[in-house]
């Protein structure tokens, strides 16, 4: 939250805080007529609304508002109430004067620098890389700067054959529904299939779930199966001879 973001709506002035400070220093608005309290309230409201407080920005605001407050209090306080001599209006005016003179000094210096810049930027300088022979170390002047082991280590790195990708984290899933669909499709097409021929090359989990699907189809009367001898071929036949779904 920057002081420059603060928009003011005061009796004597409406606009950004920055501009107010400038015109006070340039004597375009009498400081005595500026409601400083309202400025602080407006600033705090803005900080609250933004919900953020940038310390550097806040410091800047405090410096500015504090200097204004001090100057204004010195301008306003009647001499009679002043216990301390520096509260006299003359001195307040002196303080403000000093500030204005200081600012004027740098405004003048700024004009001088701007002129110098306008002159200086007409001169263009060369910006070219050095010729190659100057960009490297001369052979005679060369001293050991690198470790030979670094090269051997790099070769070691390059000889590394990366391990095959690790797939252990991928969990295999076999869905009963999908196995049922496969079986029905096969039976619909052939009417009769051999389990080993159709599923022998699948992994054990797939084979087990397929067998489970077969049990399910048997229960529903969709298919029958037979195995003539232990560990022998399993023959599956569609129950109605034509297969399901046809």
């Amino acid at each position: 939250m920057r002081a420059s973001e603060l928009d003011l709506d005061l009796d004597v002035f409406a606009g950004p805080f920055d501009l107010l400070m400038t015109i006070v220093l340039r004597e375009e608005v009498p400081l005595a007529e500026v409601e400083l309290g309202e400025i602080v309230v407006a600033y705090l409201a803005l900080v609250e609304e933004r919900g953020e407080l940038d310390l550097e920005a806040a410091t800047e605001f405090l410096v500015l508002i504090a200097s204004l407050l001090e100057l204004k209090s010195r301008l306003l306080l009647p001499v009679a109430e002043a216990d301390e001599p520096e509260l006299a209006p003359e001195e307040a005016a002196e303080e403000l004067l000093a500030r204005m003179l200081e600012y004027r000094r740098y405004r003048g210096a700024a004009a001088h620098l701007a002129e110098r810049f306008a002159d200086g930027r007409r001169y263009l300088y060369r910006a070219a890389p050095l010729p190659p022979e100057l960009r490297r170390v001369a052979l005679e002047a060369a001293r050991p700067a690198y470790e030979p082991d670094r090269l051997a280590a790099a070769i070691g790195d390059l000889l590394q054959i990366p391990p095959a990708p690790d797939t252990s984290h991928i969990r295999q899933t076999v869905s009963l529904d999908r196995r049922l669909r496969v079986l029905r499709d096969l039976l619909a097409g052939h009417g009769r299939i051999d389990f080993d021929q159709s599923f022998g090359s699948d992994d054990r989990l797939t084979q087990a779930v397929t067998l489970f699907a077969l049990l399910e189809m048997h229960k529903r009367g969709e298919a029958t199966w037979s195995q003539r001898e232990t560990f022998g071929p399993i023959e599956i036949t569609a129950a109605n001879g034509a297969g399901h779904g046809n």
Partner: protein, 188 residues
């Protein structure tokens, strides 16, 4: 005819991307600084009326293209003119140049306005840079060698006495009277 030393100095300044201090030229050429001074003088004379000029900037010597060739150079190199300084940038730069190292709140106190964007732009243009933190933790700024080069300064001591920018005694008196009058009106 140029001496060997003068030719070498010219070649070195041609090659160097930065201004080169006399001492470094003397060391590279293996001669005294007085000899370099004389070679610089001779070179400066020989470059009279040529397309390249000798400049003392940022603590050293540098060759630059003659300003007369600026327009043609910007066409050839497709290099747009650097924008002039805004009032805010010039004021901020003046404060940093004279008071460095100086913090942003101090700049704000003198200018009477927050100077954040001017400080940022000057830093982006490479004219000022951070140089640490003040006792109170605020970032403090100083000018860069690029500032000296672009402003044609051989060093910061080449900046004119800032007192010469102060208002005249008459202006000051008039300002004081107006302020006092304002104060009196309030206390009446």
């Amino acid at each position: 005819m140029a001496t060997d030393l003068e030719r070498t100095v010219e070649a070195l300044l041609f090659l160097s991307p930065q201004p080169v201090p006399i001492a470094e030229l003397a060391e590279a050429c293996d001669v005294t600084e007085a000899q370099i001074d004389r070679a610089i003088d001779a070179l400066s004379g020989d470059l009279e009326g040529r397309g390249v000029v000798l400049r003392e900037v940022a603590g050293g010597w540098s060759l630059a293209a003659h300003p007369d060739a600026e327009d043609a150079a910007r066409r050839l190199l497709a290099k747009p003119r650097t924008p002039p300084l805004t009032q805010a940038q010039a004021e901020t730069l003046a404060i940093v140049a004279y008071l460095q190292p100086v913090s942003r709140p101090e700049i704000a106190r003198i200018r009477g306005v927050s100077s954040e964007s001017a400080v940022q732009t000057l830093a982006e243009r490479g004219l000022i840079e951070e140089s640490g933190r003040s006792r109170f933790g605020a970032v403090i700024y100083r000018t860069t060698p690029l500032f000296e080069r672009l402003f044609g300064l051989s060093g910061l001591d080449q900046l004119p006495d800032p007192a010469r920018f102060d208002p005249s005694p008459e202006d000051e008196r008039e300002l004081r009277e107006r302020l006092l009058k304002a104060g009196e009106q309030r206390t009446e």
